[in-house]
């Protein structure tokens, strides 16, 4: 693919000279009120300054961790790294010491050489995070050797995108300048969004969707990225819609739960005066898209000018920079197919035209497939292309598929270097997602990997299992617990099953164990388990080699076959008896 720019730096520099006085960033730290703004010219200058400093400190080609709240300075520092040929590692300031220790996993994995942060957090970060060098980027001043445009190549790694914020076995996706440029190009064409105008985002900047869709795409289009910290949206979801209305935003998006929040947590009186008629692209991605959510959002906001043709259910992941597919510009509304849920269990698709059929489940199409990316559905056993009525793993090939995982040869080969005989010489990415293609649209039906996705955030079960077993000394450690998700009212919910230590099982208060697990799971992962089961030793299902069988545990849970530890059944509390209730 031929691109106008070689690197994202060249693009930014070009924007500065062409539309320098236009606002590039408008951050709403409070989610409302007067924004902090930076023009394209100012952004270019400040990024150059940081780049000069980082170069003088000998950091070219090294990894630098970004620990900032959602703010313009975050983006200034991110671009400063790119301008300087330094590999940025977007993250976020630790919430507490427990979080801080998790960050160290990323620091080790990426071999981070320096931490960039804001002066207001500097002392705290030094206390919490262990690194070789700390820099408060907002205090960088002075003159550095003139910045040159030619030292960075399009094949250079621009940043590492970690696929989970707090993981014991972190994997950093290597995103090149070429990946960013191509993905932004495909994304903007795929949803047909033009140059200029305003985009709005509340997504975290360390998240692939927050960074690429929320910031890099609008910058790529010479638009203004209006953004707010995610907690400002969570606290008052109306702030998102208000920003869309006030700035006449053309594009914004979030996970499915964000649209639900807008229906459930915004009062009618707060909706008054909203004008959503300029909202052309409403992306719904990062977690399964629910028809019920689309319907209720539509019903609630059509009176305020929202059009069903603006819904763009999307599919993407860090490994493809972000975008794979999103919506269909020619459709009046998202395509929905009803399939037979019993047939689905056999990895087959049977389309039902009678939507009243008790076996019919609606699946929302996650976007039209364009020729720039190759997308194939692959049979799990034969690793060959599926027939059209078969469900298989989604494989993706194209120029915005990333290089692989930083420093992880084996995981990179397994995920990124796969072949199909129909396409000699082409590498395919195994996404781990299951689905089918119909009428040129992609449908997602499930997930191969054990990943738990709650509110658009990925959680690895092994991380949660580790947190759980370490939360109380009476729990059996060394892999005797399972974390998995179950669907409750169409929403993914966490279930934790953990064995108690044999010698402890008659001595401890089950309530204490459950409380300890709840606190730890909240503190580390920000989640509340729908159900916590303390079970007798030997109850967790494992393979002969000792691997936890999460799918089998899930089935055992749903069939209520776990033998619970003494004192477990029928006990009160927020999530103990839900097992019995169902």
């Amino acid at each position: 693919m031929s691109l106008k720019w070689m690197t994202f730096v060249q693009l930014m520099h070009d924007m500065s000279s062409r539309v320098g006085d236009r606002y590039s960033l408008a951050c709403l730290p409070k989610g409302e009120g007067v924004p902090d703004t930076l023009t394209y010219f100012e952004l270019d200058r400040r990024a150059q300054k940081i780049a000069g400093y980082l170069r003088e400190r000998g950091l070219v080609g090294e990894r630098v961790l970004l620990l900032y709240p959602s703010s313009n300075e975050y983006i200034v520092a991110f671009l400063g790294c790119l301008y300087g040929g330094v590999i940025a590692v977007p993250a976020y300031p630790p919430k507490n010491n427990h979080h801080a220790s998790r960050l160290s996993n990323i620091i080790v994995d990426a071999d981070v050489k320096a931490v960039l942060t804001h002066s207001s957090l500097y002392e705290k970060i030094i206390e919490q995070v262990c690194a070789e060098m700390y820099v408060a980027s907002d205090e960088i001043d002075g003159t550095y050797p003139a910045w040159r445009n030619d030292v960075i190549l399009s094949s250079d790694v621009a940043y590492l995108q970690y696929t989970s914020g707090s993981t014991g076995a972190p994997k950093g996706v290597m995103v090149t300048h070429e990946n960013i440029l191509i993905n932004c190009d495909l994304y903007s064409k795929g949803v047909s969004v033009g140059r200029g105008g305003h985009h709005v985002s509340w997504l975290p900047l360390f998240h692939d969707m927050g960074l690429v869709q929320g910031i890099l795409l609008p910058l790529y289009l010479g638009a203004t990225a209006v953004f707010m910290p995610s907690e400002r949206f969570i606290q008052k979801p109306i702030r998102w819609l208000r920003a869309i209305s006030d700035y006449k935003a053309v594009m914004t998006g979030g996970p499915n739960f964000a649209y639900d929040l807008c229906v459930k947590r915004i009062l009618d009186k707060d909706r008054e005066g909203l004008d959503l008629s300029g909202w052309q692209v409403a992306v719904n991605g990062a977690e399964p898209v629910s028809k019920a959510t689309l319907d209720s959002f539509m019903a609630a906001y059509a009176p305020y000018g929202f059009s069903p043709g603006s819904f763009f259910p999307g599919y993407g992941m860090a490994e493809t920079t972000l975008y794979v597919t999103a919506g269909d510009i020619e459709a009046a509304q998202p395509e929905i197919t009803y399939i037979d849920k019993e047939v689905l269990k056999r990895y087959q698709v049977e389309v039902l035209l009678d939507v009243e059929n008790p076996n019919a489940v609606p699946i929302v199409a996650c976007g039209k497939i364009y020729s720039d990316l190759l997308i194939e559905i692959v049979n799990l056993d034969s690793l060959k292309r599926c027939l059209s009525n078969e469900i298989g793993e989604i494989w993706v090939s194209g120029d915005s598929v990333c290089l692989g995982y930083w420093g992880r040869e084996k995981e990179t080969v397994d995920a990124f270097k796969n072949y199909l005989s129909e396409y000699p010489g082409k590498f395919f990415l195994r996404t781990g997602d299951l689905g089918f293609i119909r009428n040129g649209q992609i449908y997602i039906t499930g997930r191969l990997k054990d990943m738990i996705i709650i509110r658009g955030e990925n959680h690895y079960p092994q991380d949660i299992e580790k947190t759980v077993e370490e939360s109380h000394p009476a729990l059996r450690i060394g892999g005797f617990g399972a974390a998995f998700s179950v669907l409750i009212n169409g929403e993914e919910n966490l279930v934790v099953v953990q064995e108690v230590e044999r010698t402890q099982r008659n001595k401890v208060d089950i309530d204490d164990l459950r409380d300890a697990i709840n606190r730890a799971v909240f503190s580390v992962h920000g989640l509340h388990a729908y159900s916590v089961l303390i079970v007798n030793p030997g109850e967790i299902l494992k393979t002969s080699s000792g691997k936890i069988q999460r799918h089998a545990c899930r089935k055992k849970y749903l069939n209520r076959l776990f033998k619970m530890a003494k004192g477990m059944s029928g006990v009160g509390g927020a999530n103990s008896y839900s097992y019995d209730k169902k």
Binding site: K95, N96, H99, P229, E231, I234, Q235, K236, R455, R514, D515, N518, R519, V521, F522, S523, G526, L527, H528, G572, G573, A574, N575
Partner: protein, 91 residues
């Protein structure tokens, strides 16, 4: 009524409404996480306290003060909100 009592009652009422749990399940030593508060609930609660007390708080407050008792004690003693708690007790 003491300001801590007012605050404590306010927080319990909030939890009853937000989580749809019965008030007699909640006592002072309860951790928010035991009651069913997750990260969304945690930042929502902090936002509503900000509105109630007309003050500014760290959105991640509940990560450092995980029980009702600890949170109320923090709100009461933190110098910037102590005046506001007084205000609350007058209301």
């Amino acid at each position: 009524m003491s300001s801590s009592r007012v605050l404590q009652e306010w927080v319990v009422n909030w939890l009853v409404k937000y989580l749809n749990v019965s008030e007699n399940l909640i006592d002072d030593d309860c951790a928010f996480s035991d009651l069913g508060v997750d990260s969304v609930g945690a930042v929502t609660l902090v936002g509503d306290i900000e509105d109630y007390l007309d003050c500014e708080l760290e959105p991640t407050l509940l990560w450092n003060y995980p029980t009702i008792k600890e949170l109320v004690a923090y709100l009461e003693t933190s110098s910037k909100s102590s005046k506001l708690v007084l205000k609350a007790s007058i209301r």
